[in-house]
Symmetry: C4
Subunit: 200 residues, 4 copies
């Protein structure tokens, strides 16, 4: 099977999940001091940024993986579907965090749900990733497969980071959100010094 | 006509219909016990999962069908449009089920509407499928056409499954939803042992 | 300029505008007689069907036009953007019609707005269409350009049909909606007997 | 890395951000004088038009830039992601402006937020643009790179225009919105006389 349509379907879900996040930025109902009301929405802006970054960076990694796949099979499509289902849910925990991170009672459950969503995505991505690279199944080139698998060692770190974020949700909500944002950046940063290897 | 743009348009509708499902996960309005409120939304999560799986697996089958089509004609595009109209409506019955499956009076109509939506999709898919494979019209390769048509025998089973789900809606709502979920998995599972045939 | 990205952007807007229509099917708030409440939404289902059909059939015609274009220029992209802006607004009049077609006072303005939206789309499509086919500007093949232009004679009929629909909005709202639906089908039907000419 | 998937992901976000704008056109709740209520929404229509035009014209420029890129690297993808995050937020300031531009107290903050959103996009676009064209990094052809960079001189003008719009928000809200609309047209107009250069 060609990889072009799985890419198109995945790109669609990634792009929509990211862009739907804006619907959680609700226009304040009061106009008497709209400026202050808009500023008070800052947690929703931060949540929007963290989630869009997370989705975008997962997309970059997904893109890199599929670019090395010669073809895909049905099992891959179903594993990929689980990943998309996990990514598609992101607007919900994002809305929870944006709305409740400053609430005394609501911040902890909101951030726990956010972290659990991140863990779901990490597990699903690892499944897609291991299936595609194992035994040169879909990635034909042995060197590329090894290099991609080496990057895959980063996944346990992601799982650990989300677990730390969940633990922090109980004591320091803003620190928990910071961990989620830094986790996204972590997956972007280590690869930044090596763009030359990626270009053709 | 090339198949690339019908694929892109169809991929778009499938991806959007799946990703819009998340908008039915409404952020609870109470913060005093947000954790419990989020847990009480479990029927909406199950409905999200079942519907996204259903859409994703229809997409895989649509993808497989179009991959074997050399070209498409206008009649195919209109039949395909009816399929997309049916798929695009999925977020509505999903919201009904997520909101009312635990309600004494609302569960039955919600699940009946969901099943009727499934039957609409099954009929539209069968139309697209038969049109494309009949008489090697769009699928040029005779062997591929026969193999695809053999898979098509599974459609009456789908129709029967949705009818059972509708009947169960009157006596056991959760069993009805389980049937809808298993129907989606049924279309994924029988093909799982044979991924090698699909790969190039 | 290649036609692939304008196609992708246009396909995205068409697919999203169609699929967003489902958000106007609002889940009824009462569960005591949900079945009846869901049935009472029938005008919204009809409006969903008419609008998705309209968007889908415009898409088919847009697809056919661009398939014959060797390349596009910036002017074409801006004309196409006006078309997409007109198509993107469709969910709004659709929601108006779905909600107010049975209201004594609201039906007429809702259907007038719907018809004006249709006229906007017809004008924008004609602009795109004439620009692309005039003087073999973008459609290189002379015979294809002539055949496409011949189809273009159908556009005044569309304008007339929407005008009739607007007039009917003042005396017979349901007849007005029927005219809008038949207009969409009109653009699909005359080409149905000739699929062979379209296939490659 | 191929440019096709970044294009698909970007096209998706542009198309979705544009099409989601329609969700801010809220169906009026009163049916007694629906016609007048729909007319009173005119600021929302203007905001829809200005924002869709802005997004569409950014898309055309993004399209032109990427068409000249032979390949992209990871750094480009991350800069592009920042641009998409900025574009994806557009529906929020658009809703603010559509709802509050006629409000005595709300117009100024709504238009300031809109202008700040425009500045964010201008900065992000400039980053993507300079990265891609600097030192023939991604644009291989020297002449094309120079011509594209020449067009880039227009960006400071955009920044200035948005700053003027923000200043006008404090004294003349409608003039401020007019400046935002003219800024979008400015990026479309200067290139209109030269479509021949763009065609292949």
């Amino acid at each position: 099977m060609r990889t072009s349509r799985p890419e198109a379907f995945s790109d669609g879900v990634f792009a929509i999940a990211g862009t739907l996040l804006v619907l959680e930025l609700r226009v304040p109902a009061e106009s008497s001091d709209l400026g202050a009301a808009v500023l008070r929405l800052w947690p929703a802006y931060v949540a929007y940024l963290v989630s869009f970054l997370t989705i975008g960076i997962i997309w970059v990694n997904h893109h890199t993986l599929l670019e090395h796949c010669k073809n895909v099979d049905r099992r891959f499509l179903y594993l990929n579907l689980l990943l998309l289902i996990a990514v598609g849910i992101v607007p919900f925990p994002t809305a929870l965090v944006g709305q409740y991170i400053l609430s005394e009672d609501g911040a902890t459950p909101a951030l726990v749900v956010y972290g659990l969503g991140g863990i779901l995505i990490a597990i699903a991505f690892t499944g897609v990733f291991l299936y595609a690279t194992h035994d040169q199944r879909l990635v034909g080139d042995r060197a590329a497969a090894r290099r991609i698998r080496d990057e895959g060692r980063l996944f346990p770190i992601g799982l650990a980071a989300y677990t730390i974020g969940i633990a922090l949700a109980f004591v320091a909500p803003l620190a928990s959100l910071a961990v989620y944002g830094l986790t996204a950046l972590f997956y972007a940063l280590p690869l930044l010094p090596l763009p030359a290897r990626e270009s053709r």
